[in-house]
Subunit: 385 residues, 2 copies
Amino acid sequence: MPLKDKYHLRIPGPTPVPPQVQRAMTQPVIGHRSRLASQLIQECSERLKPIFGTRQQPLIVAGSGTSALEAAVVNTLSPGDEAVVVVTGAFGDRFAKIVETYGIGLHRLDIPWGKACEPEQLADFLKKHPGAKSVFLTYCETSTGVLNPVAELARTVRQHSDALVIVDGVSCVGAVPCQMDDWGVDIMVTGSQKALMLPPGLAFLAVSERAWQVIAGNRQPRFYLNLEAYRRKLEQEDTTPFTAAVSLLYGLKESLSLLEEEGFENVCSRHERLKNITRAGIRASGLTLMADDRHASPTVTSIDASQEKWDVEAFRKKLQSHGFYVAGGQQHLKGKIFRIGHMGYCDEWDILTVLAAVEVTLSQMGQSVEPGMATKAAQEVMMDV
Amino acid sequence: MPLKDKYHLRIPGPTPVPPQVQRAMTQPVIGHRSRLASQLIQECSERLKPIFGTRQQPLIVAGSGTSALEAAVVNTLSPGDEAVVVVTGAFGDRFAKIVETYGIGLHRLDIPWGKACEPEQLADFLKKHPGAKSVFLTYCETSTGVLNPVAELARTVRQHSDALVIVDGVSCVGAVPCQMDDWGVDIMVTGSQKALMLPPGLAFLAVSERAWQVIAGNRQPRFYLNLEAYRRKLEQEDTTPFTAAVSLLYGLKESLSLLEEEGFENVCSRHERLKNITRAGIRASGLTLMADDRHASPTVTSIDASQEKWDVEAFRKKLQSHGFYVAGGQQHLKGKIFRIGHMGYCDEWDILTVLAAVEVTLSQMGQSVEPGMATKAAQEVMMDV
């Protein structure tokens, strides 16, 4: 049995919260309309800009990531409009479900789960659906560990149409390069509980000027998720239209400091390295990686266990008995894959440990495992051998 | 200048968070789909039942109170339906705005701010609008400190129509008696940052069987705020459809323990007493109470300063320099009233202190104040003189 509370949260979010951030959140609660709260909101929004790669003011919503995905839909589209949704996994599928819920004509580009969408596939699809007003993309598809080539995909959209480019960046923004302005992304969404190292409860959106124009003309009703209200309150009063989750904002300020101290380029290369270590270790254990090298996400790695003789859910349970939490598969991948999160407050030694735990667990399940293969491979990456 | 972080948050929410609750929220983050999270969600929902006075399972949304107000609208009504909204202040007005946003026929019963809605007024109004499918009420109107007689108003609705009774209980549920099942309330809404002594970020709804039937037949699209999805996930898997704000749930579990230890009847009588002390002190200072005795809320007291010679906003600023935060007026009451919150983690001595600070501040603003009048009156109530 693991020591009490000494567990290893290696799921692709929520991610571990650094002690500094925990401490920041225990500051006494302040009024959401106080000067202190306004300073906090204004400062956090300002300091989120480089994370998104934008000159726009990121907006802060009290809600989970899905609230911001829905905001991106209801603010830009109305019933009868058409939209293209690229579905590479469960979160692309969620975007599609939101679009359908609101009576928007859905053109769904389904990519086999575990693969990325290639720009050519998207280009062909857009030619067939020239009426689409928005194209929805997933940056990191959390359910498969695939990082879609968002910069190229956004460029493809811009070459073929005037559609807005709307990106779910929930499980990677803050850990991977993001230059939404340069890439031509119109709305980028993320959440607090992933690379930003906070508990769940905040969602963030950055919106291009082009998208603001569409939003201004869009008649779809929205209230809590009315982005124009968020923009107006932020620009005019440095605040949010509805009560801000102030304790999480205190945490956000601190987690932004951590990212800034490390340097955002270093943060990205750390995640790149964590990915490489994870993949090297998994390969050395004789396990099968789901995503290919070119499209593997720096934030989460999926292991395809569909051909293994052992039961994935029994394996995850056994791993938990050592204090390690990894994620299972979603929808049709349930029982077929497991996923190791390596984003946010995570270093190389955290990965070394989970790799060792995977080997120990498989051995305990009666699999023939040569101990040390995964950690050796991990160390080789660390040593740049 | 007050000592750092040693301030007195006496606004009607967010309210101070008890140290036990702060500590509970610093527990390591857990996966939102873990067994631990499910236990937490199930247990919190179960223990919220007596707070709402219901046999239904309260639902937990990651969002601020307004998200739950909107959920109550979009789940029960569709464009073309009619609704009655009783507006006794800024939060009744918010309900009306949400109703209008969604193209629902709004029948607005405006009551002068500072007054409660009387059952006879509602009865007359309902007779004029027999087609209303829902009637929206505010339990405590935060902007004025009026506690509307919700039990009587709900009974009135039931006598006159089949409309659903939907109540905003954000700034009082958890501090005042609430028997929604017995009263015939169909949807009761509250938030985390008021009587429940948590930071902002959670909203709660309890829904009657009658309302569930209406919801099942309602075609208005909704996704993040789809209450049927919350109910299904809670009943079938003890979880939420979207990532739960797990750290706040850890806090909620602890704050429910505090309420249970004190005993919910004692919690209600404490708030009643805090109201009486506040009102006695304010009267003794020669200031004017906004709400009458019969309809004053146990959670917030508004002081009508519209006839005073001093400037309310200057007064609030000066009071802040002593470390005391009270709220100003909203909308047309801005600059005319101030509001003292006395809910949640608040005791008699907290009120004695703020009353003394009000006197000291008024004296510093050049008003002729006899020191000790307010605290004397407060102590007399404490001593049951």
